[in-house]
Amino acid sequence: MLRLIKFTTPFRRYHEKVIEYYEHPKNVGSYDKSDKSVGTGIVGAPACGDVMKLQIRVKDGKIQEAVFKTFGCASAIASSSYATEWITGMTLDDAMNLKNTDIAKYLHLPPIKLHCSMLAEDAVKAAVKDFQRKAENK
């Protein structure tokens, strides 16, 4: 189906993976911020045109599931959606090792869009830190 669209309505600026993530984003949603098993990271600023909210639900030190919401361009939406997929099932330490270059490579982001992947990396780290902070304050 995507190939049909690409043929008849060329949209050459984006890689088809980025388009796919916009058309069918994975893990869009919200958890209750006050829930103890949830870590929330909000990064970016509306003035910059990019705000990502990434939330993780953690059990036994592992990220069971993750959701996101993003105000930003298609590359930002794709980066944050892919980030939630990547970190699902990982331990917190592994998630902290997520590099923006992994996201950028998978989505074939051009240089001008690399900052979207960096913001997604920041969002993941912010979510993990938030969870860890909550766990300590128990």
Binding site: I5, Y14, I42, P46, K69, F71
Partner: protein, 423 residues
């Protein structure tokens, strides 16, 4: 048999089939060539290939006749004399010629100040920046929240050192139309030359260079259903406006713009001007009706939509809308069946949001959410209905993806949040 099965399967799998091209709704960026204009141009792209400056044979005489007819057609839409029209390669060249030419000529009279506006087209702003580097003083007047300049401030700013005032008639991004006649009057009283970039206004509003006291005017062919690659500069002869030419050579166009004219392009521009003056009212009615419908229905169906630019004094075919909490580039990508542009940072080469939106005071977060819809002569009601349906659907979808929308629904005041700075 296999073909039948595969067709059946693909018809089951495909939810939406897109055939053809996206619907063009970016008429401020450029316009398609009107078929009637192409008809006029055809002889000069085929058998009438003479150089219009060739004096010695019919090849040249024929094309020269056509060019002079085109010149008259351009002069008629401005209500001036055809001797006052200089053909150029486009509005950018016309703007450069007007500003640099007048600034350099008037330097000998001790005038070195140029007044312009913050919302001008980049070709004016960049030319002014270049002139500043050469030692000229340039004042960039601010605009109000609708994009209009303050006439009193303009009056106060003009002094004996002012060489030229350059203020565009209609803005390409937000559509605001400046009070050109009043500006012309102020400049005439103060004996200062008034130049206006009318690229977006010609063919959409009635222009009269004498009634409006305009001394120099730039226009662009491809904004009024003419061919790309040609424009014109109106240079007043009574009283004579003197300027240094930008391009030297054989002395064509009264020495103001040397170079062989392209008869086909000139004829195209002339024909486009004639059609535009005849159809100005019918075009305006058609476009206004479509624009009003689009705006009215969108406002009803989609909350938190803001119109940028003046609500009344604006180009009928321009709708610059900010959809709060939805980022502009993602919206344009979602609306891939429509050809639009945005004032958002991501769609400009730098990551800065539109300077025009910033000049009218649109907050940075709203500047990232804007969309420019341009409606024109060939837009149909079906396209508008389709556009409304798509915009409503995708704005809703993107708001569901947006953390800002979620926060607003929860009652959070976005102005009071400490956002993290990107590293």
């Amino acid at each position: 048999m296999l073909k039948v099965i595969s067709r059946l399967l693909s018809s089951l799998a495909v939810k939406e089939e897109i055939v053809g091209r996206s619907s063009y709704m970016d008429f401020q960026a450029t316009t398609p060539l009107d078929p009637r204009v192409l008809d006029e141009m055809m002889p000069y792209l085929t058998y009438e290939y003479g150089n219009p400056h060739s004096r010695t044979h019919a090849y040249g005489w024929n094309t020269e006749k056509a060019v002079e007819k085109a010149r008259k057609q351009v002069a008629d839409i401005l209500k001036c004399d055809s001797k006052e029209i200089v053909f150029t390669s486009g509005a950018t060249e016309s703007n450069n010629t007007a500003l640099k030419g007048v600034a350099k000529f008037n330097l000998q009279k001790g005038k070195s100040k140029i007044i312009t506006v913050q919302t001008e087209h980049k070709c004016i702003l960049d030319t002014c920046r270049h002139l500043q580097e050469e030692g000229f003083e340039v004042v960039y007047l601010p605009v109000d929240k609708h994009g209009l300049i303050d006439l009193e401030l303009l009056d106060k700013t003009i002094d004996e050192k002012t060489s030229i005032v350059s203020i565009m008639t209609a803005n390409n991004e937000i559509g605001t139309i400046q009070p050109v006649a009043e500006i012309g009057k102020i400049c005439r009283n103060k004996k200062v030359l008034f130049h206006t970039d009318a690229a977006q206004a010609i063919g959409k509003i009635n222009m009269d260079v004498n009634a409006m006291n305009i001394d120099l005017l730039s226009l662009s062919s491809h904004k009024l259903y003419g061919p790309k690659g040609i424009g014109a500069l109106y240079v007043r002869r009574k009283p004579r406006v003197r300027l240094n030419p930008l391009i030297n050579g054989g002395g064509q166009e009264r020495g103001l713009r040397s170079g062989t004219l392209a008869p086909a392009l000139a004829v195209g521009l002339g024909a486009a001007c004639e059609i535009a003056s005849i159809e100005l009212q019918s075009d305006t009615d058609h476009i206004t009706q479509l624009a009003k419908k689009f705006y009215k229905v969108i406002i009803e169906k989609v909350p938190d939509v803001i119109l940028n630019g003046h609500p009344v004094h604006r180009l009928c075919g321009n709708l610059n809308l900010s959809f709060a909490y939805v980022e502009g580039e993602s919206l344009i990508m979602a609306l891939k069946h429509l050809a639009l542009s945005s004032g958002s940072a991501c769609t400009s080469a730098s990551l800065e949001p539109s300077y025009v939106l910033r000049a009218i005071g649109v907050s940075e977060d709203l500047a990232h959410t804007s969309l420019r819809i341009g409606i024109g002569r060939f837009t149909t009601e079906a396209e508008i209905d389709y556009a409304i349906e798509l915009v409503e659907k995708h704005v809703k979808k993107l708001r569901e993806l947006s953390p800002l929308w979620e926060m607003v629904q929860e009652g959070v005041d976005l102005q009071n949040i400490q956002w993290s700075q990107p590293k």
